[in-house]
């Protein structure tokens, strides 16, 4: 049965090929995909699709352009696509092909980092973020009910070329996956967090005329789906005040399952003692650059006092709690802002002029997607010839003068608009270069901002790189002696995606476990909530894992023992 089906699909595809080519994008068949692995990661509030593919040039000419269709059914949309040569690590350009006739897929043209000779092979790692692809089912839930999301995708990866071998891995937010399409149990495997489809051999290129098979997976999602309908971010340079001011105005919605009944404050207050996972937005954690100060948090009513701000030489964290928990379908708008010292962000260029380097997008540590982001960079009055180099594609750019009091002409302002953004792009810097020109009343030297073409300031910010300037994210807990790692996953996974759990088995490490979270914010929540939690009749002790501190205390112990020996000798005690 299994061997017949692909052939049937193949025949149908061939019959329809002629009409298909006339109506939509014609991709020259110059490649084949030797091996393809697609990973669909649904552990965030949006989909992250990663495709690792070995491509081979089957034509007799060198090739540089590779096409890739991404499925965007319904209201979903591709936020961004990045690509690199997996072995060399060199990035390659991925740009959308403006052709809407191929719905529900969208083609991307990838320019290979180097020309591929006939018969040559290269491994590409393509990652894309897709928003709006997750649907809560049931769409309406009770206040303390679990939230489930559903994802529908194609069983065979849509490709523009023949694919010899392929496999699809779906990674859910946690191990609770009540429903998934099984296709009669063949080539489908569920283990822990993942459902794997494949391997499948020799699948034809995508054709919009055939109806492809789809799979649907429904999984538990214990976090809210944070969606910022709009974000207005102002970055204001004050050379008089030696200050860089940030202000962010958010219009937030929880896109998760809607609340069925009226909100019960009593239930909320009684259950919050146990801190169950909830699909409501309770708090947001903003990891800011170190050196940030004077943070504030207000909303339409005024100052909101339920916020914490911690700033030291290593980090600055703004932890805000909205006035009420934001359930599915609820809205909340708020403003946060903070200051930084200017010399960390503004430098005098070697020639003339100045260079400004600021993060284009920051935002909360919880996974977030944005409808539209408007960043205004307000430069000092008299700054001219400003150019910028943005870390990701900008949809719209406007230049104007922004007048505040004490200005005569108004300040040079660049407004950059980006639509459909995901938080993976945050903390990338935009660089503005300014050439010199005599500034009017204010600056004696003056500014002229020049900035070249687009580039990437950093490599793709995986969570790992993100963590490099975060506090230690490892959590150490002392657990009961007979705990399986599944149980630990269940408990600790409620606070966010876990990268790794390591349990001690030796005698001196028995009853301890190291849990590594993908996100530092999740580790913090877990530490706060689970310390002292009664788990299998034992109380958990949850601590941050701090290797330096542990090493120090070991050294102390050795020193103290030495002193003890000395004292013993002095007093003649054996």
């Amino acid at each position: 049965m299994r061997s017949i089906r692909p052939r049937v699909t193949l025949c149908a595809t061939l019959l329809l090929a002629a009409s298909h080519l006339a109506s939509s994008l014609e991709v020259p068949q110059v490649f084949k995909n030797t091996n393809l692995l697609r990973t669909i990661d649904a552990s965030k509030a949006y989909i992250r699709e990663t495709i690792a593919v070995i491509i081979e040039n089957t034509s007799d000419k060198p090739q540089t352009e590779y096409y890739l269709p991404l499925s965007v059914p319904g209201s979903s949309a591709v936020s961004f696509v990045e690509c690199k040569d997996k072995k060399e690590g060199t990035p390659c350009k991925a740009e959308p092909v403006e052709d809407s006739s191929d719905y529900p897929v969208k083609y991307y043209k990838i320019t290979l980092p180097a020309t591929l000779k006939p018969k040559g092979q290269v491994t590409l790692a393509i990652s894309a973020s897709i928003t709006g692809a997750l649907e809560p089912i049931p769409a309406v839930i009770g206040q303390s009910d679990k939230q489930f999301l559903s994802y529908t995708g194609y069983r065979y990866v849509p490709t523009a070329y023949l694919t010899e071998k392929q496999k699809t891995k779906f990674r859910a937010a946690n191990g609770e996956i009540p429903d998934y399409t099984e296709f009669g149990g063949k080539d489908v495997e569920k283990s822990g967090y993942t459902v794997t489809y494949g391997p499948y051999d020799d699948k034809k290129a995508w054709s919009s005329d055939s109806t492809p098979e789809t799979f649907t997976i429904r999984f538990e999602f214990t976090m809210p789906i944070i969606y910022m309908e709009k974000l207005e971010r102002d970055i204001e340079v004050s050379h008089w005040g030696n200050n860089l001011a940030f202000e962010e105005r958010y219009w937030m919605t929880n896109n998760g399952a809607k609340l069925r009944d009226q909100f019960s404050r009593l239930t909320w207050a009684t259950t919050s003692y146990y801190n169950p996972p909830t699909a409501a937005i309770k708090s947001l954690l903003f990891p800011l650059r170190s050196g940030s100060k004077d943070a504030y948090y207000t909303d339409e009513v005024g100052n909101v006092s339920t916020s914490k701000f911690r700033s030291d030489s290593r980090e600055a964290i703004l932890d805000i709690k909205p006035r009420f928990p934001i359930f599915g379908g609820w809205n909340y708008s708020f403003v946060v802002g903070w200051n930084n010292d200017l010399p960390d962000y503004l430098r005098k260029s070697k020639g003339d002029g100045y260079i400004l380097k600021v993060p284009l997008l920051q935002g909360p540590s919880q996974s977030t997607s944005y409808g539209s982001v408007e960043v205004r960079i307000i430069l000092p009055e008299g700054a001219t010839d400003v150019t910028y180099s943005a870390p990701f594609a900008i949809d719209k750019e406007e230049r104007s003068l922004h007048k505040t009091f004490m200005d005569t002409l108004g300040r040079t302002t660049i407004k950059l608009t980006v639509n459909n953004v995901v938080d993976e792009l945050k903390n990338r810097d935009i660089i503005n270069k300014l050439a010199p020109e005599v500034n009017r009343i204010l600056f004696v030297k003056n500014l002229r901002f020049v900035v070249p073409s687009a580039h990437r300031v950093r490599t793709r910010p995986t969570e790992r790189t993100h963590l490099t300037y975060e506090p230690p994210t490892n959590l150490r807990s002392i657990t009961s002696y007979q705990v399986s790692s599944e149980e630990l996953f269940d408990l600790f996974g409620k606070f966010g995606p876990i990268r790794q759990i390591r349990q001690g088995i030796a005698n001196n490490t028995k009853g301890t476990a190291f849990i590594v979270y993908e996100e530092v914010g999740d580790a913090k929540t877990a530490c706060d909530k689970l310390n002292g939690f009664n788990f299998q009749n034992r109380y958990l002790v949850v601590l941050y894992h701090q290797p330096e501190k542990m090493a120090r205390s070991e050294k102390d112990l050795a020193q103290r023992q030495e002193e003890l020996e000395k004292l013993k000798k002095q007093h003649g005690i054996e």
Partner: protein
């Protein structure tokens, strides 16, 4: 992974922006400038004459102007 702008930024590492007056001095400078402004204004108001205007009134308004910029900065309004 670098680009012309990033190289430019790195090349300028030794010359960060240096303000005329740092944040810690805003309040002091504002007070001194406003005080000078006030004193000169009082002196000028006692004996108003065109001859004295460039010598007293002009410095007074400059001191007031710059003083108010630093007073705002000292208060956290970074204009």
């Amino acid at each position: 992974m670098s680009s012309p702008t990033l190289e430019l930024w790195n090349a300028a590492a030794s010359s960060p922006f240096s303000p005329v007056i740092g944040k810690s001095l805003h309040a002091t400078v504002a007070f001194i400038l406003l005080a000078i402004g006030a004193v000169l204004t009082i002196i000028f108001s006692i004996n108003k004459s065109l001859v004295l205007a460039p010598a007293i009134a002009f410095p007074a308004s400059v001191a007031f102007g710059l003083g108010s910029v630093y007073a705002l900065a000292a208060g956290g309004v970074y204009v």
